[in-house]
């Protein structure tokens, strides 16, 4: 082999969330930025430690809700006043109190859809393939283990030094993540 297989990053495995948070702090103090932690459940304060500020989601949901609200009301307004005016019991054509339920329901519907699709979109899901899945230990990220991955795209990343650095953080183990899946 004249060429070393490219790697996605170096993965350190921890037994509990406190060790992981300590490791994230040390790694950020050491200047690493391109890294992510993988946990079996949401760990409090972990996103902040990783430098994540806003999810951007509330704004998407607000906009979605407003679009749903406007669509709901003006759909009914246009139908009842212009497209198909009906005199029911002498009420005005724009009998807006009767339009509230549908307006409300469509507000919720579009807001909920934008919350879900927004979350999936921002997370880049669905993503059926990801290099991390090449690492056999990684399956435990959905059971009882906590992982920190420093990615090879980080400026300070160096295959040997980063592995050595992670080993100093008292992990259960450190392993490399291949960029491409190994064909059996």
């Amino acid at each position: 082999m004249n060429k070393v297989a490219p790697i996605y990053g170096v993965l350190a495995e921890f037994e509990n969330p406190d060790d992981l948070i300590q490791a994230v702090r040390r790694a950020r103090a050491a200047g690493y930025r391109k890294m992510d932690a993988y946990t079996p459940f949401p760990v409090e304060h972990l996103p902040e430690e990783l430098g994540v500020r806003h999810s951007g989601l509330p704004l998407i949901v607000l906009i979605g809700g407003l679009i749903g609200c406007a669509t709901g009301f003006f759909l009914q307004y246009w139908i009842s006043v212009f497209a198909y005016p009906l005199n029911s019991g002498g009420r005005p054509l724009n009998s807006w109190p009767a339009f509230i339920p549908v307006t409300f329901e469509l507000t919720i519907l579009v807001a909920a859809l934008s919350a879900v699709l927004g979350m999936l979109g921002l997370n880049g899901l669905p993503m059926p393939y990801h290099p991390l899945f090449n690492n056999p230990r990684f399956a435990l990220a959905s059971r009882n283990r906590f992982f920190l991955c420093i990615e090879s795209s980080d400026k300070r990343f160096n295959r040997e030094e980063t592995s050595k650095f992670l080993s100093e953080l008292k992990p259960k183990g450190v392993s490399e993540v291949e960029e491409d899946s190994v064909n059996e």
Binding site: F41, V102, M119
Partner: protein
């Protein structure tokens, strides 16, 4: 803490293995097969009843002037009421930080979805020409007509479809991390591929979890007013009409309370046998059952207040038709149903004041079943006794359900249970990742 919401000695690994093993390693049990087979046969009965309905029209049901709304609307309101507990447990109890909800929310959400599916069948079936159900949706058409948005029946279309969609989203979003767990732990390639597709590549990234939490909380915030609005709109189907017994302002709050009441009762009816069969007593503990019993007692009292106010207002209104409606309910031809409703919905649940009843799974199961029956009778009383004797004695009539009424109703019960059996077999019945969070919290205390 003497009463815990999770059995002692559990770790991240044990909760994961225990719950996922129900789906992944458990063999096909005879009980499951028999249960599923019976439900599936009832689904076939439903299909037969529906086919015959499509061929012959709604004349096969017992409905006729003056009782145009029979079993279809009774069952619709009953099912949609049952479908309220899931979102309530998931959304409102999440916002109130009631951690005990964790082990029952997944299951209650699934129950909600299936109940809404059963409920949504009925308004479509009772249309007369069900194949034109899509006319209810506003779309540009060559006939040049549009729906009437001042009608509560159109509000219903939007309320039910929104509720169904949002419940599905809420349930599916909650499932994604657990589907990833199943993907990582499935031993067969087929299982890995199917769960892998459904998990959409979830890998538990901290940044993903952050957005996930925000999305889940926002969905809970949106679902909370939604759950209240849905049964409010269902009650408008009645309250907007001028029929004595329907035209009252207490309907929305009392319908919502009744929905929560019957929903919790259904969760109880289902979760007590399930926790026994699958050995989940560590996760659905005595405390869960007791808390649900307390919610039932509280909402049951609100419902009782509703009945009382209905009776009081019909007297206080001094309106002869309102007064007659109430007397007819109590002493008319349908009086046994009214008093059975009072017995099942008000008298029997008073047993929940006693701690001995609240801590006995067996007694709770019977009380919950009584409430489910009582709530069905309530809808029967509201729909049928109000319609059968209104303003003109010359237009009075009686309603008797036919074989096809019963088979459609029982068929939907089969549909509900068939879907529930499939859910128990193929998806984790308790939210695994939320149980891990619970382990973390109880350990750090």
């Amino acid at each position: 803490m003497s009463q815990e919401i999770i059995g002692s000695g559990h770790t991240y690994a044990t909760v994961t293995d225990k719950i996922s093993s129900i789906v992944l390693t458990r063999k096909w049990s005879l009980n499951w097969l028999v249960g599923f087979a019976i439900s599936f046969m009832l689904v076939m009965l439903l299909l037969v009843a529906m086919t015959y309905l499509f061929v012959r029209g709604i004349g096969i049901w017992g409905v006729n002037v003056p009782i145009g709304w029979g079993f279809a609307i009774i069952n619709f309101v009953w099912w949609i009421g049952i479908g309220h507990a899931g979102t309530l447990i998931s959304a409102i109890l999440l916002l109130l930080r009631q951690e005990w909800r964790t082990s029952i929310n997944r299951f209650a959400e699934a129950m909600t979805l299936f109940a809404v599916a059963c409920a949504a069948l009925f308004p479509i079936l009772h249309l007369g020409r069900p194949w034109f159900a899509y006319w209810l949706i506003p779309y540009p058409n060559t006939m040049g007509i549009w729906p009437q948005f001042r009608s509560p029946l159109i509000w219903d279309v939007f309320a039910i479809s929104t509720y169904g969609t949002v419940s599905l989203l809420f349930w599916f979003i909650g499932l994604i991390p657990d589907l990833a767990t199943l993907r990582d732990r499935a031993s067969s390639r087929f299982g890995r591929v199917i769960y892998g597709i459904l998990a959409m590549g979830w890998r538990g990234s901290a940044i993903h979890w952050h957005r996930y939490d925000v999305a889940y909380l926002l969905l809970a915030g949106l679902a909370t007013p939604l759950v209240v609005s849905v049964h409010t709109i269902v009650s408008f189907d009645f309250a907007i009409g001028i029929i004595p017994g329907w035209h009252t302002t207490i309907f929305p709050p009392y319908f919502v309370a009744g929905a929560i009441y019957s929903g919790f009762a259904m969760v109880m009816v289902l979760s007590i046998p399930i926790r026994a069969v699958y050995g989940l007593q560590d996760f659905i503990t005595q405390r869960h059952l007791e808390n649900m019993a307390k919610v039932m007692l509280a909402t049951g009292l609100i419902v009782a207040y509703g009945y009382l106010m209905e009776a009081f207002m019909s007297w206080y209104s001094a309106n002869q038709f309102e007064r007659y409606m109430m007397l007819n309910r109590m002493w008319g031809p349908y009086a046994p149903i009214y008093w059975a409703l009072i017995l099942f919905n008000i008298v029997v649940p008073q047993a929940l004041w006693f701690k001995r009843v609240r801590t006995s799974a067996m007694l709770l199961w019977f009380v919950a079943l009584a409430v489910n029956i009582g709530m069905w009778l309530e809808r029967f009383v509201i729909v049928v006794t109000s319609l059968h004797r209104d303003f003109l004695p010359s237009s009075w009539g009686m309603y008797y359900p036919t074989f096809w009424d019963w088979s459609t109703y029982i068929g939907t019960i089969g549909l509900f249970f068939a879907m529930l059996f499939l859910f128990l077999r193929f998806l984790p019945v308790i939210s695994i990742f939320e149980m891990r969070t619970l382990v973390e919290k109880t350990e750090s205390q």
